[in-house]
C-alpha cells in the first residue's frame, strides 16, 4: 500500500451530553478500502462525517495527503450519505448532471450511468426507482467527480440481499480503479468482502484495527460452535467451556472440537441444531465488547 491519503488524529466529537467520538486515530493508505464497523451509536457516522468535512470536530484533526483538508478536498471527495434526498421531478440523468455541474472535472454523465448500470433507467423519474436502484444513483452521484476518496456511509442498509450483492459488485469494480474507499457498515459480511482493513468501534473508540483476516487469526485460534439458546440447558453453563452468550444463541469457542463435543454429549445437551463454523467479525465484536453488532 502507498503513503496515507487520509490521516485521522485524536478525533473527538462532543455534543452537550454525549461524547460521540472519544479520541480516534487511524490512517488510510491510497487505494485501500477501509471499514469502520460498529453497532448503531458507535460513532461511525460522526467519524466519517468529520472526515468528509461536513461536521466540525471538537478536537483532533483530519489530514488529506499530509495537509489539513483545504477547499480542494470537496473537489476530490465522493460521498454517499446514510440518508440522502435529491431534488424532486428530476430524472436519473438530470440528477447526475446537476451534481456533475458542481465540479470542475470528473466523469461524463454517460460514463457514470454505465459504471453504475443505470443506462436503462436514465430517463426515469428518480422517485420511481427501487431501493437498490436509488442507492446506485446515489453512488453514481458520488462518483461524478471521479473522486480520489469515496465515502460510503452504510450504503446497503435496508437493501434486499440481491440488491446488496449487486451493490457490492459495483464497489468492487470501483476498488479495481484504485480508488480509496472509506466504508461504514454493521454488516460483517460486507466488511469482510470489501475491506482491506477495518477499525471496530464501540462507544466512540476503536477497540480493534487491522485487516479482517489478521484480526480473526489474532483473536480466534479456535473454531466456533453455535447452539440455539433454548437448546442449551442452564446446568450446562457450568461446564468448563469458553461460552459467549448472544441474544438467540450460545457460542462456544474451542481448539479441541472432539473434546468439546464429548463434554456436551455427556451433559445431555441436544446437538441436533449445532452449527460449527469459523469465527467472523461479528464474533470478534462480541468477544471484544460483550455486545452484539445487531441487537
Amino acid at each position: 500500500m502507498d503513503a496515507p491519503i487520509l490521516e485521522v488524529r485524536d478525533l473527538v466529537k462532543q455534543y452537550t451530553a454525549i461524547t460521540a467520538v472519544a479520541g480516534v486515530s487511524f490512517s488510510v493508505p491510497q487505494g485501500m478500502c477501509f471499514g469502520l464497523l460498529g453497532p448503531n451509536g458507535a460513532g461511525k457516522t460522526t467519524t466519517i462525517e468529520i472526515m468528509e468535512g461536513i461536521l466540525p470536530a471538537t478536537a483532533g484533526e483530519v489530514r488529506y495527503r499530509g495537509e489539513p483538508q483545504g477547499a480542494s478536498f470537496r473537489e476530490e471527495a465522493g460521498i454517499l450519505f446514510q440518508k440522502t434526498a435529491l431534488q424532486d421531478f428530476l430524472t436519473v440523468r438530470q440528477s447526475i448532471a446537476l451534481f456533475r455541474g458542481l465540479y470542475r472535472s470528473g466523469l461524463g454523465v454517460d460514463e457514470v450511468l454505465k459504471l453504475c448500470a443505470l443506462e436503462a433507467l436514465a430517463g426515469r423519474d428518480r422517485r420511481k426507482l427501487s431501493g437498490g436502484q436509488q442507492q446506485r444513483l446515489l453512488l453514481a452521484i458520488a462518483l461524478v467527480n471521479d473522486p480520489a476518496v469515496l465515502f460510503l456511509d452504510e450504503p446497503t442498509t435496508g437493501l434486499d440481499p440481491q440488491a446488496r450483492r449487486n451493490f457490492w459488485d459495483l464497489v468492487q469494480s470501483i476498488k479495481a480503479r484504485h480508488k480509496t474507499i472509506i466504508l461504514t457498515t454493521h454488516y460483517m459480511e460486507e466488511a469482510e468482502l470489501l475491506c482491506d482493513e477495518v477499525a471496530i468501534m464501540d462507544r466512540g473508540r476503536i477497540v480493534a484495527q487491522g485487516p479482517p483476516q489478521r484480526l480473526l487469526r489474532e483473536h480466534f485460534a479456535e473454531v466456533l460452535l453455535e447452539l440455539p439458546r433454548q437448546d442449551f440447558p442452564p446446568a450446562a453453563r457450568e461446564l468448563p467451556l469458553q461460552l459467549l452468550e448472544a441474544s438467540d444463541r450460545i457460542e462456544i469457542t474451542t481448539q479441541d472440537l472432539e473434546g468439546t463435543l464429548r463434554t456436551l454429549l455427556a451433559a445431555h445437551v441436544p446437538l441436533t441444531n449445532l452449527r460449527i463454523r469459523p469465527a467472523n467479525l461479528e464474533d470478534l465484536f462480541l468477544a471484544l465488547t460483550g455486545k452484539e453488532l445487531r441487537p
Binding site: 468535512g53 450519505f81 440522502t84 434526498a85 435529491l86 431534488q87 458542481l102 465540479y103 452521484i141
Partner: protein, 335 residues
Amino acid sequence: MIRRLASVWHARNLEFLRDRGTLMFTLLLPLMLVVGMGFVFGGPPRPLFKVGVLAEQIDKATSPFLREQYVQFVATPDEPTALHKLTHQTLDLVVDLGANARYWVNTDSPKGYIVEKLLLAAVPGAQRQPVTGVAVRYVDWLFPGILGMNLMFSCLFGVGYVVVRYRKSGFLKRLHATPLSAFEFLGAQVLSRLAIIVTVTSILYFGIGTIIGFHSAGNVALLALLMIVGALSMIALGLTVAARFSSEELVGGVLNVLTWPMMLLSGVWFSLEDSPRWVQWVAHVFPLTHVLDGARAVMLDGAGLAQVAPHLLYLAATTLAFLAFGAWSFRWRID
C-alpha cells in the same frame, strides 16, 4: 374510528405546541393584526370624503360647506399640489372658497360625484373648473399594488418554503458535500425565482393592463427595472428568513408576520397619507413600499430614473444586506 382520530389529533397538537417557534409566530400574527389594524383604522369614525381647500388654514365660519359632517377638509394652499392629489384620488374634491367660489372634481371618482352635490347644495354659485392632465381611476392606482402584492407573496413564500424543504429532506446537506458555496446556492435560488417573477409579472401587467385599458405614463423598461430590483430584495428577504430554520410551519409564521404588515402598510389597497407619522415611517422600512411608490410614480406620473433612483437604491441596498446576512447565517443541515 373516534379513538384513532383522537390519537392523531392529540399527537398533532403535541407536535404543534412543542414547536415553540411556530407556536410563537402563530400567536404573534393575530396579535399584530389586531394592534396594527387598531392603529391604522382605530379612533373616531373616519370621514367619508376628503376635500382640499385652497387656503392656509380652515376657517369653518367662512362657508357652510366647511361645516358639513363626514367630510375631512385639508388645507392645501398650493394649487398644483392639490390638483395632483385630486387626479390621484387622494382628494375627492378641491375648492377655492374665495369671493368667486370655484372647484375641481375628478369625474372618474364616485366620491367626487357625491361630494360635488354637497358643495353645490351649500355653495350654489361655485364654478366647476377643468382638471388638466389625465385623471387617475382607482383601478389605475390599485394596479401597481396588485403587481407588488403578487411579487411579494411569490418571492417570500416561493423561496422560503423551498429552502426549508431542501434542508429538512437532507438535500442541502448533500449539496454541502460538494464545492458549492452558500452564496452560489442562494444566488441560484434568487435567479430562478426572479425568472418566474419576471414572467408572471409581465403576464399580469400586459394581461390586466389590456383588460382595464391601462397605459403606463412612464417608461416600461424603468418599471421593469424597478420590479426586478424589488423582486431581488424580497427574494433575498425570503432567503434570509429560510437561512437556518427547518420547520415549514415556523417559516410560514415568520413570513406571515412579514407579509401582513407589508400588505397593510405599504399602500397596496389605499394611500396611507392620513396615517400617523410613525406608521408611514415604518412603512418606508418595507421594500414593498418602495416598489409601490416607485411603480406608481412611473406608471401614473411618468417619473424618470432620477425621481425613482432613491427607491432603486434602497431596494438594491436591502438586497445586498439581506443576501449577505442570509449567506452568513445559512445552515446546510439541521443543527
